[in-house]
Symmetry: C2
Subunit: 178 residues, 2 copies
């Protein structure tokens, strides 16, 4: 059975929406997703707020209640019937996210066993046929076939097989022989 | 640069010693390591104590202060100069171990960056040239070259390249072209 690794932040979970919500609330701003095309939040905010931007991620509750990306549950449930699905998330730069990410996955994706979770840093370590990820550098390090999941920051990236949403993921794998 | 994955429990950390210490203290017993040749602790203890045996591992502090296996620090420090060293530990069956394991690694192995930690379940997911592990089933699932790190429970296992201690690990890799 072929193996698919799936990134969490901005692929399964809408991490950016929560980051933006906390930023706007704290600084009484109204930065929208539309302003982030081709850019990370770090790049459109003042230098003296970078420490706070990082602190939002380090908060114990940040990763606890992230919204689901539309269709992620349904499509992944379907894919687990034909593929060996692993969750591969970069958790090591934010150690406070370890527990919350584990609980979030159990709550929203009970059909994927915890033995298929991989909390890692450098994704070169993954042995899989496919990786769905929003970060071009993760796909570059991965030795299998990468699928770039569209996010505002990566909209200008070229040279990748791109999926814009979970329906695109479903369509891609419908054509793959498991 | 070739990549080595290293298991934590019973390879870098003396998990068994702490498990045994808590068991003996709680039940006023004196089970020794010598009695565990070819067997796991679960197999030599009464059925009505299995839940407590598991509860020891789930305790928030269990993985926080494990003793180091002799030589692990020195040999790994040396190996990081010639190899790409990753820590690959099965943490997902004991979610309370995630934070403690992270802190333990940072404290005792500061020369290995957190981006090289992999907290996983099934070790088939690892893409590496070597895996040092005390569990035969982990080596069976791994696609690179496995080294069985001797532990009481695996002393009867055959068909593996065995390392009895960290000096054996150093000797093995001294002969490997990095």
């Amino acid at each position: 059975m072929q193996r698919i690794c799936v990134d969490m932040d901005e692929v399964m979970a809408d991490t950016l929406a929560e980051h933006l919500r906390r930023y706007n609330e704290t600084f009484d701003e109204s930065v929208s997703v539309d302003e982030l095309t081709g850019k990370a939040l770090w790049e459109v905010t003042p230098a003296d707020r970078q420490a706070q931007l990082r602190a939002f991620l380090d908060a114990e509750d940040f990763f606890e209640d992230l919204a689901l990306m539309p269709g992620a549950q349904e499509v992944l449930k379907h894919l687990t019937q034909r593929f060996d699905v692993y969750i591969a998330t970069q958790a090591m730069t934010v150690p406070n996210s370890l527990g919350p990410k584990y609980r979030w996955l159990q709550r929203h994706f009970p059909f994927i066993p915890p033995t298929n979770y991989v909390f890692c840093g450098n994704k070169c370590i993954l042995r899989a046929d496919y990786l769905i990820d929003d970060l071009p550098r993760n796909l570059q390090r991965f030795e299998g076939k990468g699928l770039l999941y569209s996010a505002p920051h990566n909209l200008a990236a070229t040279g990748y097989t791109r999926v814009n949403n979970w329906q695109d993921v479903a369509d891609f794998f419908a054509k793959v022989k498991a």
